[in-house]
């Protein structure tokens, strides 16, 4: 077993850490939480120039030909930096879906544009009953000559308000199996009938309500095949979940380091508070949480990259990491006390992100239920 990144991945991580320290200071992170758009354009272009927006796409589609472990290495640094903006929505959610489901033409059209920072993309999956299950998809797409007409409300759609295109997951056919009859449509955000409201979130990310009121989409804009979006969507969500776990691991590691540093420096009762056993135990437990999150995530990523069965591993990784990141940041707040509580500090950024990340893509309970199924229960 080898728990380490290879030399190139380590170089990527170090370079990314230096880059984000310079280009994504916490002042920018905090500003973006208040900003209407939330995707700093200069940072977006610089990441494009470094090849990071196309990192995970094959070279024939304008990407850098990186693999999922490379993505994990980069995502850890993004989590550490609290990177705001459209990487998750565009590169992962939208872009990976296009890679997994799209036709050659669609891939050759959209993926290079994403890699070059020319396009923001997102995917609208969840609705009023947001449980990542096919049965919850009620938004309908009805055929009318050469167009489909989409109606329904999508929720928690990241960056819809600035996206050039929204991939809408809608039901085109009612079937006994709810996974059948689901189709993905590439919709121009500016289409008539679309109404977007940005929601106010704990993590400051831009999640949107996207209401589709008889929105016309050409049948040419079906991403992939009619009625068959669910399978590539599941694969996409697997990759996105692994990437999200890696981001959480990076954030948890930083939160742990901040708590430990504070414990070493803060003096009360004539001694650093890190000499008190209660604090040492909090830190030790946080270390165990971070390490377990990391190893479960790495194993899931490795198995995915090898093309092996990994549903169990992904469920374990997201299930554990969801709750571990929350524990670590809550513990971090405890250790920091008052200065962790004000918005001047940085621990609060991780604390808020941890909770949002826990809930997104399936929390602990969701993942344990998925694992129970995989274990044959």
């Amino acid at each position: 077993m080898d728990f380490d990144f290879n030399d190139e991945q380590k170089m990527l991580q170090k370079g990314a850490r230096d880059f984000f320290e310079k280009e994504c200071p916490k002042s920018l992170v905090k500003k973006m939480a208040e900003d209407e758009k939330g995707n700093p354009p200069e940072l977006w272009q610089k990441m494009a120039q470094l090849g990071w927006l196309g990192l995970i796409y094959p070279e024939q589609y304008g990407g850098s030909g990186g693999n999922i472990i490379d993505l994990v290495a980069l995502e850890e640094e993004m989590g550490r930096a609290c990177l705001p903006g459209a990487f998750f929505s565009t590169v992962l959610l939208g872009g990976l879906f296009v890679l997994n489901a799209g036709s050659e033409e669609q891939k050759k059209d959209l993926l290079p544009k994403i890699a070059n920072g020319k396009v923001v993309l997102t995917l609208a999956l969840n609705e009023l009953n947001p449980n990542y299950e096919a049965a919850a998809i009620e938004a309908e797409a009805k055929i009318e000559k050469d167009d489909y007409v989409i109606s329904g409300t999508k929720l928690f759609v990241p960056d819809a308000h600035i996206a050039d295109y929204i991939i809408c997951i809608a039901r085109t056919k009612k079937s006994t199996k709810s996974e059948d009859g689901i189709t993905a449509f590439l919709v121009d955000r500016k289409s008539a009938g679309i109404n977007i409201t940005v929601l106010k979130t704990i993590a400051g990310d831009k999640l949107c309500e996207v209401a589709f009121d008889k929105v016309k989409v050409s049948k040419k804009n079906i991403v992939g095949k009619l009625d068959q979006a669910w399978v590539p969507l599941v694969k996409t969500l697997q990759q996105v979940t692994v990437a999200r776990c890696a981001e959480m691991v990076g954030g948890a590691q930083k939160a742990l380091e901040m708590a430990a540093d504070h414990a070493k420096k803060r003096v009360q009762f004539d001694r650093p508070i890190g000499t008190f056993q209660a604090i040492q135990h909090i830190i030790a437990n946080a270390m165990m949480d971070v390490d377990a999150s990391r190893f479960l995530t790495y194993e899931a990523a490795w198995k995915f990259g090898e093309g092996l069965q990994c549903a169990k591993e992904i469920a374990m990784a997201k299930g554990w990491t969801s709750e571990a990141y929350q524990r670590v940041t809550a513990a971090g707040e405890q250790v920091l006390g008052g200065i962790g509580y004000t918005t001047d500090g940085d621990m609060q950024l991780y604390y808020k992100r941890a909770k949002a990340a826990e809930l997104t893509l399936g929390d602990g309970r969701f993942q344990r239920e998925a694992l129970a199924k995989e274990l044959g229960m």
């Binding site: 190139e8 370079g15 090849g51 850098s64």
Partner: protein
């Protein structure tokens, strides 16, 4: 332009002082917690200087590094930025030296590399801060040297260097081959693209031992030192605070002025 850049792997100079302790027996810094290794920052600027010239005029960049336990994910960084070749003088016989014996080994390696137009070095290493290796290499190889450079351009076969001075900078022209030490005023070091990082995988470092570069064993590493470190210590800053009193603020100010005159500060 054939360019050579000398880089040194050091313990991260940004690490807090509490990460180290001084070993009085060997007069060296020993890390107590895990401190990462990095390329000495001025050396990164030296790499950037060479890359700027390669961008403008083309050429080949050979990076040379002397040390032991050279982490590949540290020393290969210049390759990911666009350098062409990496040579490692990786052998215990090379280490423990001072500026002179280190420069002697590097100079021998540079001679073996062959034809070059420019050698770039960082102005000083982030750990020892002696700032002499570059100068010693130039001396050994009989080259003109320009130190503390903030801008380097090639113009009609000559090299034009903006050299930092205490109150500004000087513009110097120097023929090739020459050695230039680079300072941080050069500007930001570029970031590697993902493709650049992946490409560095194919460039395996070349490792040279003392026998490969024909050095006299008595002149390299610890054996070749011409200086001796007597003591490595952290200066103790002691401050005594005397509160100047007075009946009121004006009175206290007068007393303060009197005190300053008394200790001959004003």
């Amino acid at each position: 332009m054939n360019m050579i850049v000398c880089i040194k792997q050091v313990l991260d100079p940004e690490a807090p002082l509490s990460s180290f302790r001084i070993d009085p027996a060997t007069n060296t810094l020993v890390p107590v917690t895990a401190v990462p290794f990095v390329i000495s920052p001025f050396d990164e600027q030296a790499v950037e200087a060479a890359l700027k010239i390669k961008d403008a005029k083309g050429g080949k960049i050979t990076v040379v590094s002397l040390g032991t336990n050279l982490l590949r994910d540290v020393v290969k960084k210049p390759l990911s930025l666009g350098a062409d070749e990496l040579i490692l003088l990786e052998d215990p016989a090379f280490i423990g030296g001072d500026s002179w014996s280190t420069a002697y080994a590097l100079a021998a390696a540079i001679k073996k590399v062959g034809q070059f137009d420019l050698i770039f070095c960082g102005r000083q290493a982030a750990d020892s801060d002696s700032g002499q290796v570059g100068a010693c290499i130039a001396e050994i190889l009989g080259l003109p040297q320009v130190t503390v450079a903030k801008k380097i351009e090639t113009v009609d076969g000559k090299v034009k260097v903006d050299k930092v001075t205490t109150d500004g900078y000087e513009v110097v022209e120097v023929p090739t081959p020459a050695l230039i030490t680079v300072s941080n005023e050069l500007g930001e070091v570029r970031f590697a693209t993902f493709k650049g990082t992946m490409a560095s995988k194919k460039k395996e470092p070349i490792i040279w031992k003392p026998a490969d570069i024909g050095v006299d064993p008595a002149k390299i590493g610890a054996a070749g030192r011409r200086t001796k470190t007597r003591k490595l210590f952290q200066p103790v800053r002691d401050s005594k605070c005397e509160i100047i009193k007075g009946e009121n603020d004006e009175d206290a100010a007068v007393n303060l002025a009197k005190k300053l005159v008394e200790v001959k500060l004003i």
